[in-house]
Symmetry: C2
Subunit: 226 residues, 2 copies
């Protein structure tokens, strides 16, 4: 139903920007760095890249993320397209934003230093380049919605985690405190959160049971619901 032809129209540059969320010191953090090019050199900014001719938007985001973190197959969600005419002070660039969740411990310090990136606490986020603050706002809103319905909290933790850690993730994402007993009750009902025999002795003297996410159980459970 487009009524006019390609050639009558102009093309635009298209980029992806990735909001990388991590969880550290019981806080939700975002990976940002100083822009190393004009316009906006030196400003705090999300990490992004241009979309190539031969890759989809998702692939471009995936590539950008991998380049930055060295990690593959991370949890990633599109946030939406940002397209004010003058959002980029240089040229017209429309950007599609994504958010990704990573386990901070998997992230190589080498890469962090190479790109000069920092984990910034969400509640003390500085002014970011262009409309990047808006993107982060939108990302956190979508993530809050998501975490209530889908098991994404694990993505911010190591494969084995304690229930207290898991609770802290929820608290950081939702930005409010939860009742420990009610939280554990809810988790127990989720068969895809599996207790292991292992004990974590790092965070407490007594030791805490380690749990893991059982993806297979999750898929079966959610298929069953349909």
């Amino acid at each position: 139903m487009q009524l006019t032809y390609y050639s009558e129209h102009s093309k635009v540059w298209l980029s992806v920007d990735v909001i990388i969320f991590g969880f550290e010191e019981n806080k939700l953090k975002v990976l940002i760095g100083r822009r190393q090019m004009d316009p906006g050199r030196g400003e705090w900014s999300l990490y992004g890249g241009f979309v190539n001719e031969d890759e989809s938007l998702d692939e471009a985001a995936e590539r950008t993320l991998q380049q930055l973190t060295g990690l593959k197959r991370l949890y990633m969600q599109q946030i939406g397209a940002f397209g004010s005419v003058d959002r980029d002070p240089g040229e017209r660039v429309v950007s599609v934003a994504y958010y990704a969740l990573i386990n901070v411990k998997d992230y190589s310090e080498k890469l962090q230093h190479k790109y000069g990136l920092e984990w910034m606490s969400l509640d003390a986020l500085p002014h970011l380049y262009s409309d990047h603050n808006k993107m982060v706002q939108q990302a956190i809103r979508m993530m809050r919605q998501k975490i209530k319905n889908e098991p994404i909290s694990f993505q911010l933790l190591p494969p084995l985690f304690t229930l207290t850690q898991l609770q802290h993730v929820f608290e950081a994402v939702l930005n409010n405190e939860l009742d420990k007993r009610n939280f554990r009750k809810r988790i127990k009902e989720m068969d895809y959160i599996e207790k292991t025999d292992l004990i974590d002795k790092e965070s407490s003297k007594r030791g805490a049971c380690l749990y893991r996410f059982n993806k297979k159980a999750y898929n079966e459970e959610s298929n069953f619901k349909l």
Copy 2:
């Protein structure tokens, strides 16, 4: 934080596609038409258009929608960007999809005939051009989420409506039946749905009270919540 320069990268065509939802015969319907250009001439398709250099994505969607319906300031939401490499069989075109809600009665038949459009029931939607079915799926999912938290149902109705009409909108969007008494109880709690003195005699012999959406009351109420 983009590490490379504009000029090293290629540009792409960018379009917007609009999913226009209407409510008719107690069903949620989508406005679609037959593509009038190659590639895909004759296939059922959403209506879309290219994004111009001097307009934002939202403006492009607004313009497209207005061109098609003659209506301004409709409720509209972005769904997201669709960017598979070969989603358009002709050239590489990335498209940002939006959905809009309109009151079918406001929509001019002249324009409908001019563009050869039809209201198609959502549960009998034919195969659409390119990835347009996916867009519609995504749109309905987002709309279901939205209608639970924000007063958007009105947008599909005339300014004055009966509670039964409103209930039918919810039922059509959520795709399940609701209990009449429970529904009315919930509506009564929303102070921004205002009873008027007017009576609708069209849909029943007895007549039904007409209600309207009070935007001011809504804004006050939602400010109060913060």
